[in-house]
Amino acid sequence: MTAEEGSARDEVLARVRAALATPGTHHPRTDVPLTVARPEGVPVPSAHASLLDLLVDRVEDYRARVVRCAPGGLADALRAALEGAESVVVPAGFDGDLLDLAGPRRVDESSLGEVHDVEGIAAVVSTATTAIAETGTIVLDHGPGQGRRGLTLLPDLHVCVVRSDQVVATVPEAVAALRPSIDQRRPLTWVSGPSATSDIELDRVEGVHGPRTLCVLLVDVAS
């Protein structure tokens, strides 16, 4: 920080304090943090099976594809989801045994120099950290199996594996579940369907800059 900026800092803080000292300020100053916000969201089904149904319904509403499978069927589901893709980038920490790929050329994250090298690769597979049923949102904290942020951004197809025990009902529950990721200073990417815009006459168009196809593989670990 330059000296100029140092004085800017002092002056902005001084202005804030002067403004808050204005007589008649109606919000009492207090440093007590607010309690965790847990407003009721949409009526959420109590049974876990229906929670998964809600997630599927909400993700499909964004015109993303959802495939449900048992753990034993995941390799087949991955193969089907990647069919037709010329190449696929695989994040470090993604279970390689699942990828019994005959078709796409496989590029491992560890073989990439910078993330720009992902450009031109057709597809990406990843796991997720949590999923929110009421909004159809998948959250990545870019830990093992999820790749650097650019990996799930540049390819045109994103195949994302979500385990049923990662699904929560509401946004506040997801925020609470993500506390460890934030405490470890991980970046987060919240994904609700494929990239979209409504900028031209408010017509929704899927696919501007991010992956134009999002395919969620929901693995029912209880079954």
Partner: protein, 521 residues
Amino acid sequence: MSRTFVGMPAFPLAARTAVADAQLRRNLGHATATIRAKRAAVVSEVQDWEALRARGAEVKDRVLANLDTYLLELEQRLTEAGATVHWARDADEANAIVVTIAGERTAADREAGRAPEVVKVKSMATQEIGLNEALEAAGIRAWETDLAELIVQLGDDLPSHILVPAIHRNRAEVRDIFRREMGRAGRPAPEDLTDEPARLAEAARLHLREKFLRAKVAVSGANFAVAETGTLVVVESEGNGRMCLTLPDTLITVVGIEKLVPTWEDLAVFLQLLPRSSTGERMNPYTSMWTGVHAREGVGDGEPVGDGPQDVHVVLVDNGRTDVLADVVGRQALRCIRCSACLNVCPVYERVGGHAYGSVYPGPIGAVLGPMMRGRRGALEQSLPYASTLCGACFDACPVRIEIPELLVHLRTQVVEHHRAPGSRGLPKPEALAMRAGAWTFADAGRYEKAQNASTLAGRLGDRLLHGRGTVGRMPGPLSAWSDARDAPVPPKQTFRQWWARTHTDTPADPRPDTHEGGVP
């Protein structure tokens, strides 16, 4: 190349031009009605939306009441996470900081004879401070990457809505702009480009991809900044935000000092309120959260590899916000999360669009924020608090319960006081004189009746002059200030009392009761 809002005329004048544009009115009518319906549908899904709004307001009020504490906490957390924090008193200081950093990081390009450039994520704060113009003045091209902002920038135009800045353009106009301008800015539009939105989006994808991959510096705003953790949040739809936040080496984020939320958990409130209020979605396609500089472990055998920009800057900007904070009534305007719900429900905005408000913040919230952040001296700022019918729809839609109608009345008072204050250049405005004359007339029944009789005479004369048009157009002298923005009906040819006396010859000519009992006061 981009235009600015500097020197915009007062609202009534600009509104007159906008209202006369039939295409603009059609586009606006369609757009605002569509978003209103989407918002209403997803808001009705949330059982206790009102409790959520109240919580949003409460969290923001808590931030504002402790702003110095939270700013220092944010600064500390950001610094611990490897970011560099800068402070700016006003727009010029903020611009100078960004220009300096961007200039240094693109110096190699300049030396190699390439034009230095930055990519930008749509940000109200950077528009407010006029950053693109400042960068251009320093020889650095600033590329807007949001589709609507790209349309505005390529069309050498001004944004007209917070959320959909090109709301005033239809698809045919967008196609024409892309065909004409994309080639000059980089990769040209495909030869066979049609006006289908999907084709237009594809053209933008190809045009911007090369810029994302080439750019060394990105500039963004932030929807939220979490004081407790130092986490910054960008909420978006297209993925251009993710591109800017992850691909370049340097990231500069310009954050208004009111953007804070205290804790990580508080963020949950706004992640529920904002998408539903803004685009009418349960959740927007992409939300990015980052905390300083990130690295990813476990990729190879050795050191962690960088994930995203390793040179991260945050510019905390005041630019009038502490003036708003000092206004005890007006302070609540700083709760605003820039969702634009108030624009879409406003009967005035729906008809005139965003340009008439003369700043980057249009609509009801712009009519409040403009005069409060920029001061009440200019003709535009003095006219904005009157750009409203005070119907209250904006308050009902506001996810953080800003009492916009109350604030507009508060600001109207200040405008009047400004003219009344001793030493102000202001003689009382003609309107104030007219109101004073009105008060004198209404205070006495005899005077009132005489005034009425005089006006019916004007009505009878006017009927001949106006050939039965029914409204008075431009009135002469000081009255023109009133008539320029309003159609006044021609005064009736007779008053109610005269009509009563004429048609009820059996009753006393003066229908006034002797006492007030039972009557309307």
